[in-house]
């Protein structure tokens, strides 16, 4: 983590850099308490290796130009300008976390990636993506998996790189606990979760995979072109990634029916 002091003319700002799914951010802020909380929360994701996308938090007057992308969430606002990115109205780490998810989902669009409500577990070097809405069993599956192999139990990051799909860990966990593994692995498959009395895995056609992905993707732009791009990426994922329905019992035996 780098924490240089930045002389902004508004008092000293500190910056820390983080990398999530190889998208790098440099967060600049003068709020020491928020800086401390954010530094602790994202400590596993601070190995930014490339020049970061700089984000100014609560920095006062906005540029005169119209924003390329904007999103508001419970009084906090993300605005992407040609010259800078601003997070305003950020009063706690929860708001910061929400805006980071929104910005990341938008930035991934240009990197052939997306965020998905899903748990990711790495086993034998491959990433198993378990998706579903709240209550489907993402946290349950994560808790039934080997220690140290869970990249996230709530929000997964998938990117297509060099012709193959990889899953990355994220700091976004269901119960907002700091953690997550900042590693990646090639995707073995996407599994749509259904809790059941017996373990059973059923292959899905690409259209069914797309159906299972779409409601669980995190995306916040209502702009037509951005949605076209997202749909193109998801269609490619649905075509190239193996997908299954996974009916599973509430114990680790479901791993026995998963394809290797």
């Amino acid at each position: 983590m780098s924490t240089p002091l930045v002389n902004s003319g508004r008092g000293p700002r500190q910056q820390f850099e983080l990398s999530i799914g190889r998208v790098t951010f440099g967060l600049q802020m003068s709020d020491r308490k928020l800086f401390g909380a954010a530094s602790a929360r994202y400590r596993a994701f601070t190995d930014a290796a490339r020049p970061p996308i700089k984000i100014a938090l609560n920095h006062g007057a906005l540029p005169a130009a119209a924003a390329d992308f904007a999103y508001e969430f419970e009084g906090a606002a993300l605005r992407v300008f040609r010259s800078e990115i601003r997070f305003d109205g950020v009063r706690n780490q929860y708001a910061l976390d929400s805006l980071l998810r929104v910005l990341l989902s938008w930035k991934l669009l240009g990197r052939r990636g997306f965020l998905l409500h899903a748990a990711t577990v790495v086993r034998d070097g491959k990433a198993y993506i378990f998706t579903g809405r709240s209550g489907a069993g993402k946290s349950t599956v994560a808790s039934l998996s080997p220690e140290g192999s869970v990249l996230t139990d709530e929000i997964s990051l998938l990117r297509r790189e060099h012709g193959m799909w990889r899953a990355y860990g994220t700091p976004f966990w269901g119960e907002f606990r700091a953690g997550g593994l900042n590693i990646s692995a090639p995707v073995a498959g996407v599994f749509r979760l259904v809790q059941a009395a017996e373990n059973r895995v059923t292959p899905l056609r690409p259209l069914a995979i797309l159906r299972s992905l779409l409601p669980n993707v995190l995306f916040f732009s209502a702009e037509a072109e951005a949605n076209r791009r997202l749909l193109e990426i998801l269609s490619q994922a649905a075509t190239e990634i193996a997908g299954y329905n996974l009916a599973f019992r509430n114990n680790p035996t479901f791993w026995e029916v998963l394809p290797s």
């Binding site: 056609r205 690409p206 259209l207 797309l210 159906r211 779409l214 409601p215 995306f219 732009s221 209502a222 702009e223 037509a224 951005a226 949605n227 076209r228 997202l230 749909l231 193109e232 269609s235 649905a238 075509t239």
Partner: protein, 100 residues
């Protein structure tokens, strides 16, 4: 719905859509609703180009699905009405005006 002969149909330009498994998936960005069109609906959707009327689209159904012209016209009009009710397509008048 009654559609004057001069009226042609076009896709709602605000939508995102893709073909997958011989079906068409359409996303409405404003409400994130996903629509799916089956084989015939996909064929009609691909043929809607802002230049063809319901009758002209029905002719394409006749050529490609070997159905009787009156049934094709009835099917085309029903599909267009359904798509219109979901705001997937809009009509364009002979003077170029768009109406939902």
């Amino acid at each position: 719905m009654s559609t004057p002969a001069a009226v042609v149909w076009q896709k709602n330009p605000d939508l995102a859509w893709r073909e997958i498994d011989d079906e068409t998936v359409i996303i409405s960005p404003h409400d994130s609703v996903m629509h799916e069109l089956n084989d015939t609906g996909s064929f009609l959707w691909k043929s809607i180009d802002g230049k063809k009327s319901a009758a002209e689209l029905a002719e394409l159904l006749v050529e490609n699905y070997q159905v009787a012209p009156d049934i094709a016209l009835s099917d085309a009009q029903a599909l267009l009405e359904e798509m219109s009710s979901r705001k997937l397509v809009v009509t364009v008048s002979a003077t170029g005006g768009v109406s939902p």
